[in-house]
């Protein structure tokens, strides 16, 4: 049961952190949450379809379909988050500078749908594979419910915590979360790309398992939130740093654009 708690908690936490951040920041930018129900429906439907058709998907690209599709989903989400962090920085600098509302909503819908699709599919596969096939349904369901419940509770606190902040503080905090979760997505995509031999497998630069093991609850949560990796390779670290740098640049550009806009108005 504990393993089910940890696995489901990690997946739920990854999705919930992202979606609650999007919800709180979209509200702070003055948008309503009308984008949420369609994104949730598309995400859940996509997760179910991905789980059900995993076998044919895996057969694509010479048997590398699953790895490549996962990497594409992760990298697209990461890209959406980089753009979003720029929008948040612009809006935090000068209200209404985050570009057209349709752009913000498109990014929110894309990130939510893709995040739900991936995390949902992983939970579905775990529950189906370990619960149904290994005959551990009761403990998987109990553990999964506990994990999902804890993840949703933390998401609720994050959402109301962000909403309790001032508009500016909420947007900057959301931009920081977008930057970190985006980098976490990039880090995860590197595993898939390594498995597909699209990235070289290299020697790990260090091993911090002694401090925080990846399989420990703290390690799982850190992995979900900031893409923690106990034994990173140079390529993984480089891509992680590049993702952070890209988000910082997007935020800087957003800030500059909003500053100019404010000057023009003044």
């Amino acid at each position: 049961m504990i393993s089910a708690v940890i696995i489901v908690l990690r997946e739920v936490l990854e999705g919930v952190l992202l979606i609650c951040m999007l919800m709180a920041s979209a509200c702070a930018m003055g948008h309503r949450l009308r984008w949420l129900p369609p994104a949730l429906i598309m995400g859940f439907a996509g997760a179910l379809a991905y789980g059900l058709f995993l076998e044919p998907i895996s057969m694509l690209f010479d048997g590398l379909g699953q790895e490549i599709s996962s990497a594409v989903i992760l990298l697209t989400t990461a890209l959406a988050l980089v753009v979003y962090s720029g929008m948040l920085a612009a809006n935090a600098t000068h209200a209404g500078s985050s570009g057209p509302a349709s752009g913000v909503l498109l990014v929110c819908v894309t990130a939510t749908t893709l995040s739900l699709l991936r995390e949902g599919a992983e939970i579905y596969l775990y529950v189906y594979g370990y619960g149904v096939q290994a005959g551990q349904m009761a403990s998987v369901l109990a553990g999964g419910t506990i994990g999902a419940g804890i993840g949703l509770s933390l998401g609720t606190f994050l959402y109301y915590g962000l909403r309790a902040l001032s508009r500016k503080a909420c947007l900057w905090a959301s931009a920081a979360i977008a930057m970190m979760t985006g980098a976490a997505q990039v880090m995860q995509s590197t595993y898939n790309l390594e498995q597909a031999d699209l990235l070289p497998s290299m020697q790990a630069l260090w091993d911090s398992s002694v401090l925080v093991a990846e399989s420990s609850p703290a390690g799982e949560i850190l992995q979900a939130a900031i893409g923690y990796e106990a034994t990173p390779t140079a390529v993984q670290l480089g891509l992680y740093a590049a993702s952070l740098l890209l988000s910082l640049m997007a935020m800087l550009l957003g800030r500059l654009y909003a500053g100019k806009r404010r000057e023009r108005k003044a």
Binding site: M1, A138, A142, T145, I146, L152, T156
Partner: protein, 465 residues
């Protein structure tokens, strides 16, 4: 935060869920450790029981006997599998006795204590004890996967109710929060349902402590508004008195002046002066009327009224003006009842009538018709004047708006307030007003009143009956 109810329900439910689920995980872990200890205790008890046998009496080669089966009342399906394999060796390591599941080799090294080892395709928990009196080793073993499944099965039965009760708790929280917020909703409803003129204090039964300050503030605000409106009303009355008196004196003085002036040109100037004073008097009266009929100023005294009879009364008062202008007048219709304020409706009819007369040329035609129409009452004032072009019809209800600078045959300047007053009164009675072209060639003003209480517009209404 858009909804207090959703915020409280979600945050409290999330807190309860987090605490109860973390407690469930902690309970699960501790129970699993306890269950492990219990199974270890069973292995020890069985080993001790086996050591009570007299192995030295078991001569004649290795004996193979049935495994021990633990009775499993919790999960009977696991009962058959929950067997204890065992071996008895001499102190020198010679096998004396083993159960069916136990291998021929020692299940663990001959060292006292618990160990986890693999054999027969499974992982086992093995206990080895040495009976020093009888000089033999007793080894007992259980399959770890079965121990785990059994323990988890028992513990899950305790954890699952916690999981199930959380949604129930969330539902109860929602209901309690809704109940707790009821005074707030009642307060909001009371404030929303008020008429614009109702400024009496908001009254709530058993005001919760958190709302006391808010309801006090609202009542304080209402009291200040009431005072302000009272001051406005007093101002209107005072202004009426202060303005009417000098105008009346001016009129008398002009009258005397006209009597005293001999020169025809001086008399003409004095007549113009009199007309100017009359116009000013009219304007003052209209401004006061407009102020009195404003919805937030007017204290309504609604009662069932025969609108046709009211029209007759107003016509008789204003008939001199119509005669002076040699206009042909018709009053049509029949007795019909509306729920309204007599003073306001008199003012409405008076304004419609004087407006029509004023803007209709000498010798023109006027027609007032008051009659039941469907469920309500229809009042129509028609004239043979120049009418109002369609594009100006909305604007003529604005205060001080005068069509084409108010050039008309009467030569009397209007105040531009007549139709604004009419509109106020129409709104106050929840009626509707429309302007159209009249069959007489001029303007037709149509006022449609809703049905009086009881849905009747003819004969006596129920209240009056």
């Amino acid at each position: 935060m858009t909804s207090i109810r959703i915020f409280l329900t979600l945050s409290v439910s999330a807190l309860i869920l987090l605490i109860s689920f973390l407690s469930a995980i902690r309970g699960y872990r501790e129970s699993m450790v306890e269950a492990e200890l219990l199974f270890d205790q069973q292995l020890l008890e069985h080993a001790k029981m086996l050591s009570l046998l007299n192995p030295s009496a078991l001569s004649g080669g290795v004996r193979v006997v049935q495994d021990l089966v633990l009775p499993n009342v919790v999960n009977p399906e696991l009962g058959d599998e929950m067997q204890i394999a065992y071996q008895i060796f001499t102190e020198q390591g010679g096998l004396i006795l083993r159960s069916v599941l136990a291998p021929v080799t020692p299940m663990s090294p001959f060292e006292v204590g618990f160990r986890e080892v693999n054999f027969s395709g499974y992982r086992w928990r093995v206990l080895a004890i040495l009976d020093e009196e009888q000089s033999h080793w007793v080894l007992t073993a259980q399959r770890i996967d079965i121990r785990y499944d059994l323990a988890e099965g028992i513990i899950l039965d305790a954890v699952v109710p916690t999981i199930i009760t959380v949604p129930l708790a969330a539902l109860l929280i929602w209901l309690f929060v809704s109940f707790g917020l009821r005074p707030l909703q009642t307060l909001a409803r009371q404030v929303q349902a008020r008429e614009a003129s109702d400024l009496s204090p908001v009254r709530l039964d058993q005001v919760p402590k958190e709302l006391t300050q808010l309801s006090r503030s609202i009542n304080d605000l209402l009291r200040r508004l009431q005072d302000s409106f009272e001051r406005e009303k007093r101002f209107a009355a005072d202004a009426a008195h202060e303005l009417r008196t000098p105008i009346s004196i001016l009129k008398v003085q002009v009258h005397n002046l006209l009597q005293e002036l001999q020169s025809p040109s001086a008399q003409a100037s004095a007549r113009e002066l009199r007309e100017g004073i009359d116009a000013m008097g009219h304007l003052v009266e209209q401004i006061l009327e407009l102020n009195r009929t404003a919805p937030d100023q007017y204290s309504l005294r609604f009662q069932p009224l025969d609108l046709h009879a009211l029209a007759q009364e107003v016509v008789s008062q204003d008939f001199d003006r119509i005669l002076q202008r040699a206009q042909e007048f018709e009053l049509e219709g029949e007795s019909c009842w509306v729920l309204g304020d007599a003073t306001a409706l008199r003012s409405l009819l008076h304004n419609l009538l004087t407006n029509a007369s004023k803007y209709t040329p000498q010798g023109g035609r006027l027609r007032l018709r008051v009659a039941p129409d469907g469920q309500g009452v229809r009042c129509s004032m028609e004239d043979s004047g120049p009418g109002i072009p369609e594009q100006y019809r909305e604007r003529v209800f604005d205060r001080f708006y005068r069509l084409h600078g108010d050039q008309h045959d009467s030569g009397v300047s209007g105040s531009g307030l007549g139709l604004a007053i009419v509109k106020h009164i129409v709104d106050m009675h929840h009626a509707s007003i429309a302007l159209d072209r009249s069959a007489l060639g001029g303007l037709q003003v149509l006022v449609q009143f809703p049905a009086a209480a009881g849905g009747r517009s003819t004969g006596l209404p129920e209240e009056a009956a």
